[in-house]
Symmetry: C2
Subunit: 342 residues, 2 copies
DNA sequence: CTGAAAGCGCTAACAT
DNA sequence: ATGTTAGCGCTTTCAG
């Protein structure tokens, strides 16, 4: 029943040669006779020898493993980024260990500690929604464990990160609304302390300025990015005396929920209220009307984060932190194009 | 720059005692003086000692790691099952390494080989869509690596698995359609060789019999479960002289795509064509009309798969393979309730 | 109660 | 070209 794997020792015994000869033969070391190499490799194949990775990790002090910390696996955006990370790391011979914080600051800390104890070679992290304090990353830095953030980031002057062009994207969307006849553009934002919220808010405001529209606090709502939170935020906006004629949402999930509530209350999308979301997940083109959304290159963001990390890992030197800003594209669908412009 | 971790040796040197005493002190071994234990633990905490997991894995021949093979991470169902697996394994002190086959038979084989080479303690697998040959699992069995399948399974007489009550669920849905006035009930199925396709098809047919409806090949379509495949299948059904008045879809994603096509062609849902999907992912209640769906206890399925695996792992004995069938629930929403029954 | 020693599987410097 | 040895960090007999 016990798993039993053949070791170099086994091969050596069988061939009546030393372990080091076997080791060398297997990796085609320069000074080994071709015949021996041949013979050893033959036997190794036949007995299905596989090196024990743990012996190597112990010896080399590296695990060829990367830890990933995300708020939640069951979210298109994160799953898709992971998919990009997986593709790049697999190519480079690294394994990934994934843990989700479930948007909890406490769990995020625990997970990071676990991953560090596992001695991963590096970490790729997206902050939990609750995380507003960044001291726990000191431990990682002191540890000299390379770290890269994506999407929800912090301490960017010390730590590399991959983010979307949130400011530009939000500014663009605001103009897009204006060009389509919207003048009361609302924004359902995420928690204020997150960089994505801040940057998108700034872009939204800049966009309003570009269009000569006035900034109104009434048109701003924050939510915890859950469907329920989005619903409440939407209700707040719909309670205004003068209702918004457009709603920008911090992500597609929030947009979906808001749209549902808006439709339930009898308003027409986009004619009464136009919609734009962030991410452009698969379902954006499935909902009714189809949702205009800021397309994030999620897979590429994952690849890029992995690339940054592995570069750092393999170049041993600390290097200067890099902040990679990925370009997004506004994918225009029905939800933002009013048939009857005012 | 190099990561440097303190070892038992370091602690021993500092305290001028032997490594084995340190080791014992740290795990509160019975025969160690309380004072020494105290002192050692103090120093360990202070110097932030953490055991090197790779040394232990080498010694114990176990990795406390479980490999997960899924068709695709960016799919609600799999992500959600993983989430359940993660929750259970974390509790039990195991890490998970996730790899996706991207529905490719070739990749599935490679991944499994990699995971085996990594010496994971066990594997949880959902077959790729292309997988119709199951010989590659011999390697795992020979290896004595415990294995559990979920959802898309094979060789259930030898290997434990967790599945939904596909037959009963499909039969139920068919009756549900009939009770709501549908008599030409179509089924957009997945690839024929998959157990989920076979079981749901059998349930569908049984349901038709229950209702005294006749079975027609015209009303059966297969697809590869992509949105595009679903669209093509839908077009085939809509091309019939006598169109279906209900469509059962192998999963929600297929249903979403089919609904989109049906609406695009000007048919009303549910009055012209009623819809039911499988999974009940989040978006089922976001689409318009909201989709009736067979709710899978995804998180629990993951937990159960992990439980089966870890039981097997820790009880060392092979044990008899178990097939756990999880109960589903039909969540009725607008898409299947015709306002005007015929 | 504590220490010495062997060994998990592997690599690499050091012989020969 | 091949063998010997030491050692990565840890646990666990075995001695004392």
């Amino acid at each position: 029943m016990e798993k039993v794997h053949v070791s170099l020792k086994d091969l050596a015994k069988e061939l009546k040669i030393s372990i080091s000869s076997v080791s060398r033969a297997l990796k085609n070391h320069p000074d080994i006779s071709p015949e021996l190499a041949q013979k050893v490799q033959e036997l190794a194949r036949q007995k299905n020898y596989k090196p024990n990775p743990y012996a190597i990790r112990l010896l080399k002090h590296e695990s060829k493993t990367i830890g990933i910390v995300i708020p939640d696996i069951v979210t298109y955006f994160y799953a898709s980024v992971i998919s990009g990370i997986e593709s790049y790391t697999k190519e480079k011979g690294y394994s990934i260990v994934i843990s989700s914080s479930q948007e909890s600051y406490q769990k995020e800390q625990n997970i990071i500690e676990n991953l560090l104890n596992l001695r991963v070679d590096g970490l790729i992290v997206c902050l939990s929604q609750e995380t507003a304090d960044y001291k726990h990353f000191d431990k990682i830095l002191e540890d000299n464990t390379p770290l890269v953030f994506f999407d929800r980031v912090c301490r960017t002057s010390e730590i590399s990160s991959v983010v979307a062009d949130n400011f530009e994207a939000a500014r663009n969307v605001t103009r897009h609304f204006y060009e389509n006849g919207c003048t009361r553009i609302a924004f359902i934002n995420g928690p204020n302390h997150l960089n994505i919220s801040k940057e998108r808010l700034a872009g939204y405001i800049e966009g309003l300025k570009d269009c000569g529209l006035k900034i109104s606090n009434d048109l701003l709502a924050s939510c915890n990015m859950t469907p329920e939170g989005a619903k409440v935020a939407t209700q707040k906006l719909l309670a205004l005396k003068v209702k918004p004629d457009a709603i920008l949402s911090i992500n597609d999930t929030v947009a979906f929920s808001a749209m549902k509530e808006v439709k339930r209350r009898g308003y027409k999308i986009p004619d009464d209220i136009a919609f734009v979301g962030f991410t452009d997940e698969f379902h954006a083109s499935i909902v009714d009307p189809e949702l205009t959304s800021v397309m994030h290159p999620t897979f590429e963001m994952g690849q890029e984060a992995a690339r940054l990390l592995i570069n750092q890992l393999e170049s041993k030197t600390p290097g200067t932190p890099r902040q990679v800003v990925m370009k997004t594209t506004l994918v225009v669908r029905d939800s933002s194009i009013k048939k009857q412009k005012k």
